[in-house]
Subunit: 212 residues, 2 copies
DNA sequence: CAGTGTGAAGAGGTTCACAGCG
DNA sequence: CGCTGTGAACCTCTTCACACTG
């Protein structure tokens, strides 16, 4: 990995994490036929301050026009380019239990840059099944097949007890981004991104604030 | 709402948000039969520093023993009490499409403090269905039924276009915590908690770091 | 002497406020 | 004149480092 160039300021991860929400909101505006928006309009819709929106976007360039605001289709294009979703990423899904099947059926990924192309499970009863247009493959073949297809993005929907082992295999096969649905913390080497989905954790976060 | 008492220091929301992960990890340790852990052990498993763990826990009390560490079953009990999941919360699920059905089938909520007790949808074709032990009810009856049952926690799995309307109804019925699966930002009054689940947003966060 | 609990220092993120431009 | 882009101020969160204790 090349060392940081002095001319490129590093962008805070927390800023990158907000961009998908900006993009989501801008696309909803575009769908309503809007052409122009402003940092305060976006801020209101996103529950953020206008200053934060302007500051975040300014890390990547000057996308607005003073006195006018932002051109929505233009900003959508810029964000898609920045997030590298101006293309479709092939995704490998591991685990075809209830959760994996639900993910496979979910239609929300496609127009946001992702297409599930391979599904693996270790359960002989599931291997060979072809619900939802996928054929479930044997996990013993996973490393090789993932490597051969150069897939770099995975969704992990296996039990917590096997999640780390499976993650290690995925990384061995060349995967560099893992969306982890298993309720456990993954240990991964530098250069591999992990994002966690744990609905129950979100629920517990909220109950803290409820009266008993 | 009573004004803040001077003697109670306010706990940062970001700290509260980490507690469910501490609890999750501690329960995994307990399941392995472990009795004792330390801030550095927990930190390693969670990908955090030991100082952060100690500091976070210190907001709520002195749970450890110097020179020894933390008693796992004791700390589990404390966190369950703090997060108010030393009880089971009744949950209303709205939306019985692919996503809602998947949530209804998901077994991960039960032993973390949540039980789905009511399901609503507005589609006449779905009302009356009783997959997975739930009978889908008419959304027109939702406000009254939620109010009558005093349900305060909801999961929202409706299309983005109707999410705000449905959220408003839930709040009218007395709901104070909403897990929002719809890919849109909800506007809610003070006193209502919202947590968002958007897997595609997480994916886009990660692709930013991938090489093209 | 291992490991907690915690003030203080440091790092990082957000908001302010205004110059500058269309 | 409205709204962006941005240094500077402000605030919040994290890490340090050490007194203290079982």
């Amino acid at each position: 990995m090349p060392h940081k160039s002095a001319s490129v300021k590093t962008i805070p991860d927390i800023v990158v994490g907000r961009l998908p929400f900006y993009l989501r909101t801008l696309r909803a505006l575009a769908a309503e036929g809007r052409e122009i928006t402003s940092s305060s309009d976006l801020g209101n819709r996103l529950g953020l301050t206008s200053a934060q929106i302007r500051k975040d976007l300014s890390y990547f360039g000057e996308f607005g026009k003073q006195g006018l605001g932002y051109n929505i289709p233009f900003l959508v294009d810029q964000l898609r380019r920045i997030l590298k979703v101006d293309r479709v990423w092939e995704v490998v899904l591991v685990g075809f239990g209830d959760l994996g099947r639900a993910i496979a059926h979910y239609h929300g990924f496609h127009d946001r840059g992702f297409e599930i192309r391979m599904v693996f499970d270790s359960d002989p009863a599931k291997i060979g099944q072809s619900l939802a247009g996928f054929t479930v493959d044997d996990m013993n073949a996973m490393v090789e097949k993932v490597r051969a297809a150069k897939v770099r993005v995975a969704m992990l929907a296996v039990p917590a007890t096997s999640a780390q082992k499976v993650a290690d295999l995925l990384i061995k096969g060349g995967v560099r981004a893992i969306l982890n649905y298993a309720p456990t913390t993954l240990n991964v080497p530098k250069g591999v991104a992990v994002q966690n989905i744990d609905p129950a954790a979100h629920m517990q976060h909220m109950t803290y604030y409820l009266e008993p």
